[in-house]
Symmetry: C2
Subunit: 210 residues, 2 copies
């Protein structure tokens, strides 16, 4: 399990009792990069709090497409898993480990209980929903108003913000995340290279804009 000190660093400002509750009830799980942690339509049986690594949240299309929405980092939680106990609903999102990750899985029966017991849990849930809502707004803004070139730039900037200036993603992976085709991404990246925004290598490129 994880130490209380480590937990406090990753999830600050909780009540003492909440840390104990988490240490008692949560299971610390690991997953390899690429694993699907939560699939669309799947019944949710536990809340997910990220401890280490990065998770990507997607929307899935009925014909198999994926659409990237936002990242989850340590200290953040998957909003959809936090309150679903109210309704015993199915997941509306796909969560994928982007790197090797560690996360806390908390059985959903504690969600309502803790809302009653711990004020800091209540705040945590609200903060989580609020921040995820804002990420969705950004995502909507991009897809509603921007063309693929700008969307790609925005996507890369998010990626750079997470992992630094060297982007280690194949054109195909980017295309999947943006729900377009590889050719489109290849051509747009070539343009960016010509504009001096990136330096391309095989299997990666560097973002050098601004």
């Amino acid at each position: 399990m994880i130490s209380k000190e480590a937990l406090k660093k990753i999830f600050p400002n909780w009540e003492e009792g909440l840390y104990d509750a988490v240490l008692n009830e949560a299971e610390l799980k690991e997953a390899k990069a690429g694993t699907a942690l939560l699939k669309m339509g799947q019944n949710i049986k536990s809340a997910m709090l990220v401890v280490e690594g990065t998770v990507k949240l997607y929307q899935e299309g009925e014909e198999g497409g994926e659409f990237f929405m936002y990242h989850l980092n340590p200290g953040e939680a998957c909003a959809v898993t936090l309150v679903c106990n109210f309704h015993h609903e199915q997941s509306q999102v796909l969560a994928k480990a982007m790197t090797d990750i560690k996360y806390l899985a908390i059985p959903i029966e504690f969600m309502e209980k803790w809302l009653n017991e711990f004020k800091s849990w209540h705040y945590f849930v609200i903060k989580t929903y609020r921040s995820r809502y804002e990420e969705l707004l950004k995502t909507i803004h991009e897809t509603a108003f921007k063309n693929m070139d700008e969307r790609l730039a925005f996507y890369i900037e998010r990626q750079v913000h997470q992992f630094g200036n060297t982007v280690k993603l194949t054109h195909q992976e980017i295309a999947n995340d943006l729900n377009t085709s590889r050719e489109v991404i290849s051509r747009l990246l070539k343009k960016m290279e010509n504009n001096g925004w990136i330096i391309m290598n095989r299997n990666s490129f560097d973002w050098i804009k601004k």
Copy 2:
């Protein structure tokens, strides 16, 4: 002001004290159809709870475009106004009265206070964020995976769900909401008419599909 009984009907399951607090602190406001209640970038000074009528929530593009996200009905609240006091942030959305409306405006200084005092307010905030988050997911799903014909059908279905089978919107208004042009909507509606999904009149049409 509004009576306590009416308030209870519209916002069920609150604590007694919360109803009193709202009656004491909120201002009951009215607005004509079409009014912008909250503009993007505007500083939020009060929370908005819908009492009567329908509000439309938009994302605004920098070049003036609008993009419809979802409706707010009586008993629902504008999520972004509920927690912004934490940060004194600016609105990321545009809220427009779709019909003549009545709503409760609660100064944001009470938001944090009530979170501490009323458990039912806490639940209300979480429920609000959760439902808005889910609406955003649906919206993203449509824009990410669907072509304009399907998006239009989805849009009309939402409209029908709100106001019944007769849709009293001009092609231009629909085009604005979907961030496309009138010609596109006109042509797609014509197709729907040919498919027997709608019956068109001037200034309105009837949804008769299924």
